[in-house]
Amino acid sequence: MQSIYLTIALAPLVAAVIAGLFGKSIGRAGAHSITILGVGISCILSCYVLYQIVFAGQAPFNGAVYTWLVSDGVTMDVGFLIDRLSALMMVVVTFVSLMVHVYTIGYMHDDAGYQRFFSYISLFTFSMLMLVMSNNFVQLFFGWEAVGVVSYLLIGFWYTRPTAIFANLKAFLVNRVGDFGFVLGIAAVLRYTGSMDYATVFAHADQIAAAQIHVSSSIVWPAITFTCICLFVGAMGKSAQVPLHVWLPDSMEGPTPISALIHAATMVTAGIFMVARMSPLFELSETALSTVLIIGSTTAFFMGLLGIVNNDIKRVVAYSTLSQLGYMTVALGVSAYSAGIFHLMTHAFFKALLFLAAGSVIMAMHHEQDMRKMGGLKKYMPITYWTCLVGSLALIGFPGSSGFFSKDALIDAVHESHRTGSGYAYFCVLTGVFITALYTFRMFFMTFEGKERMDHHTQEHLHESPWVVTVPLILLAIPSALIGWFAVKPVLFGDYFGGAIHVLPANDVLGRVGEEFHGSGAFVWSALTALPVWFAALGVFTAWVFFLKRPDLADSAERRFKWLHTILVNKYGFDWFNEHVIMVAARALGGGLWRFGDQIVIDEGLVNGSARTVGWLGSVMRYAQSGYLYHYAFAMILGLASFLLWILWRT
């Protein structure tokens, strides 16, 4: 089997290298053929691996590929852990990636960097696979940083745009703040377990739980809480949780296919995956899980609100992604890791679908992203319209859609939890359903329904996108609509994950939700009388009234609640704070240390100062060497006299 795993990981890498280095000679068709072939191989083999593990009962694989280094008795390997969790992630990653590859043929059709783009997204697929397939912390960090770099390169793909190269630097640095915590977490793991290997670390998790960290002479923290929070800081960066979320909306500067692949379906969920993978550690710290819970709910609620006031179609979807990542994080925070991963999977399908649909709209609109200049696109783009409707319904949790199963179970799990912060979390995720429905259908109505607000020239050229674009939309719409029906039972309430996810019996909220579970149909039926569905319906209705039927109401509401609108438009001031306080302070500190510390104190004071002192000494000493004989004679007499005096005094 090992050669299959290697092929899965390496096929996209080989394709990326060929498309990247020999892009000119293989041409455009060559570049997309080879990369699609590479990712296609990975996708088919991943499905085969999933089948083998889930249906053919194959045992999880855990083994090294090669030894990266050995130091101080610690072996750091590159290796794979293929269990039910990683196999599921591999299928999601390669499937969405394959769809995006095909879609890109249409979307990037006229771009000069065609081959480069294909090389990057294949490289991304390789990096993401290395991340999810890893069996140890070092390789996890490799993949973690590698996806970050490819994201950096792709956000800045159009490198002449000032906004793009600002956004990619911002994304990288904010992620590095997360990685800063992540590295400390990894260091703590090594400190207390002496290993970087998942299996060994999890087996010795009790050693971390028993240890304490002396933060100062009087403050002592449980090591497990410190470790888990540090690891979670890494997840906050990659999965864009408040306050490290600021990079994700700006990442929309990149081409739309990568917004779908990287900034919705896969890379941003790496943090969720990582915490789920580390469940044996997180389970041991209530404090860390409460932190996860509160951060997640804050992100889910407050980032969703921002989606309501934004007019850029991609940014609305981006804020929606932030909010949904918050939902997943909430699931982790109540120990419902399976629910988090399940929502990750359904979200990967419907959010990739929504982004690609948005991209299809943007293409039709000649790269106009402002929804105020759209409207009535339904009749021009039927396939995009219908697939986008499927994605939107899944996003708001329409009964029966994939998003319904994952989100409803998640909310039930939060309701069951009694962990510190779970009350706040329940409020956030429940009202979040209303907000989600509101911004989603605001976007949907503004884009596809109502008056056609685009200019005449654009209107004349409106048409449905080519098949390379619509086929991925359709293929993503199918799981978005249906996957919940048959996946909910095994993944959430069955023993799908087996040993891959570890939950203490006392924390098993999903188990308690599962006691009420009697098949998918009954689950849908019982949900019809529960709050979330009605919240969602209310959201859609509100969107219909305010943004389709009576847009004047929206305007007057905006005027009435001007203060709220201002706060939301300014995104709570995070960007302002980062740019006007942190960035300014860092540069001022750097400049100050340089001018004052290096140039004045060290160079002027110490270095040139000592030079001047020597010079001054020299100039004083010069007087002693006057060349006049009587000066020297006088000095000799003085010296002789003092010498004699000294001898006299001694005796």
Partner: protein, 505 residues
């Protein structure tokens, strides 16, 4: 001790003799260049057996040569390598060839002398790494400065005289104190052999003075804060080749000195004064990290980045004592040492490559100011790809060599104290900030001006040099295991030496 013929001597003297030979062709530039290429290439080829025939299981010196030299003071011509010095010698031969190729057309005056200086410098630097006798070491150590002064002083920029004198005074004063320490130990032991120094009992007071004397010599070379200000000036004024050799190899002399002299000769003093080194190292990482952000000159920025990265070298070397104090166990010491050495080697590759990149742009635009550039990727896409790769390596990206040392040192320092790791790990953010901001301003964006618009992409020679370095950076980053295998026995022995008190009973 394993004898290995005359390979090491050949590696030291071939470039020196070759360098003087090149001087004879002062008027025939092409001959001088080709002769330099042949000599440096031959040195590289000859240094390969050092690696391939190296025995990894032992910390003993290998390729040893020993014969009487200055018998009146019992000084010997005594050379050999272990797992610490051997990779540094390979770094030296590798870098010198690249410098020769990279400098092929960018010097106009006194071409033969320029190449000769680099060859002689190469031999002397290998001598420093190979010497196992105090006097021999000191001779190479001081002699090495001469070609470097000449390189900066003759082929340097407008403020080259200021930079040269500053460089000279800093390094020379430090070295003199080291000489005093060497003589003291000779008077006590009757030998200049380093192994004797390492095993002789010394009181804590003696050790402290010896430590401080060596510290004066090595801290300047590393350079550690606050004796670092010569480096940005020297880099700015040095020609590209000079900057490369300075960053890639000369800065490693300080770290090597700590490993070969300070730690094993004065382990008790090292333990007593480790707070000093750790403190200065962390200042280097954080303070210098911020200072680098404020630079407007590309070479200065990379120079400051070097100081911050070298902070990891000294931190990793001296963290061991506090690991023992904090955990009561020794595990972690040799990871710190390994990390420090890997960081030295990686910094040699990455910062050398960064200076070469600046050199490529300087050759075309004749400015080092960041503001003179912008959108270079539009006219030099191949170059931009290399520059971005090296910048990412400089930011410590996993998969490149720049990651390994930083990572290991952070892991090791966490064992000693959370806050050490915390401060050290700020380089993840700061390093990325100053390096990638540089990339944003220089490489990305619209074409900034006519000069950038007129840029020509890399020629074959430049492509070769940067390509070889890129391959090395990636190879080490993806598979450092062989390197660590070579070093293991030596670093573990050193870790043992640190734990044994030398205070005379």
């Amino acid at each position: 001790m394993m004898s290995g013929g005359y390979l090491l001597s050949l590696l030291i003297w071939l470039p020196i003799v070759g360098g003087f030979a090149v001087l004879f062709f002062g008027d025939r530039v092409l001959v001088a260049k080709w002769l330099s290429l042949i000599v440096s290439g031959l040195s590289l080829v000859l240094s390969v057996p050092l690696w391939t025939s190296f025995k990894t299981g032992t910390a003993a010196m290998q390729f040893v040569e020993r014969s009487p030299w200055i018998s009146t003071i019992h000084s010997e011509y005594y050379i050999g390598v272990d797992g610490i010095s051997m990779p540094l010698i390979l770094l030296t031969t590798f870098t010198t060839v690249l410098i020769v190729i990279a400098s092929w057309t960018n010097v106009e005056k006194r071409v033969a002398q320029y190449f000769a200086a680099f060859l002689i410098l190469e031999g002397l630097m290998i001598g420093v790494f190979a010497a196992l006798d105090g006097v021999l070491f000191y001779v190479f150590w001081e002699a090495m400065l001469i070609p470097m002064f000449i390189i900066i002083g003759v082929w340097g920029g407008p403020r080259r005289v200021y930079a040269t004198i500053k460089f000279f005074l800093y390094t020379f004063i430090g070295s003199l104190l080291m000489l005093v320490a060497l003589i003291y130990m000779y008077l006590k032991s009757g030998s200049y052999e380093l192994a004797v120094f390492q095993h002789m009992p010394l009181t804590l007071t003696e050790q402290t003075f010896i430590f401080l004397a060596f510290f004066a010599a090595f801290a300047v070379k590393v350079p550690m804060w606050p004796v670092h200000t010569w480096l940005p000036d020297a880099h700015v004024e040095a020609p590209t080749g000079g900057s490369v050799v300075l960053a890639a190899i000369m800065l490693k002399m300080g770290g090597y000195g700590f490993l070969r002299f300070s730690l094993p000769i004065a382990p008790d003093a090292s333990r007593e004064l480790d707070w000093l080194i750790i403190g200065l190292s962390l200042i280097a990482v954080v303070y210098i990290g911020f200072v680098a952000l404020a630079q407007r000159d590309m070479k200065k920025l990379i120079a400051y980045s070097s100081i911050a990265h070298m902070g990891f070298v000294t931190l990793g070397m001296f963290i061991g004592f506090q690991i023992v104090a904090a955990t009561g166990r020794t595990s972690g010491i040799s990871m710190g040492l390994d990390g420090a050495i890997v960081q030295m080697l990686s910094h040699g590759l990455v910062s050398g490559a960064m200076f070469l990149c600046v050199g490529v742009m300087y050759d075309r635009v004749h400015s080092r100011e960041i503001s003179a550039y912008g959108g270079v990727i539009n006219t030099m896409p191949k170059f931009a790809a290399f520059m971005v790769l090296f910048a990412l390596a400089n930011s410590g990206l996993p998969g490149t060599s720049g990651f390994i040392g930083e990572f290991m040192v952070i892991l090791a320092s966490f064992k000693a104290n959370v806050w050490y790791a915390f401060l050290a790990a700020t380089i993840l953010v700061l390093g990325a900030a100053y390096t990638l901001w540089l990339v944003k301003r220089v490489i990305f964006g619209e074409v900034a001006n006519d000069k950038v618009a007129a840029l020509k992409d890399l020629n074959g020679r430049e492509f070769l040099v940067l390509g070889v370095l890129a391959a090395a950076v990636l190879l080490v980053g993806l598979w450092p295991a062989p390197l660590l295998d070579v070093m293991r026995a030596s670093t573990q022995q050193l870790a043992q030496q640190l734990l044994v008190s030398k205070i005379a009973p």
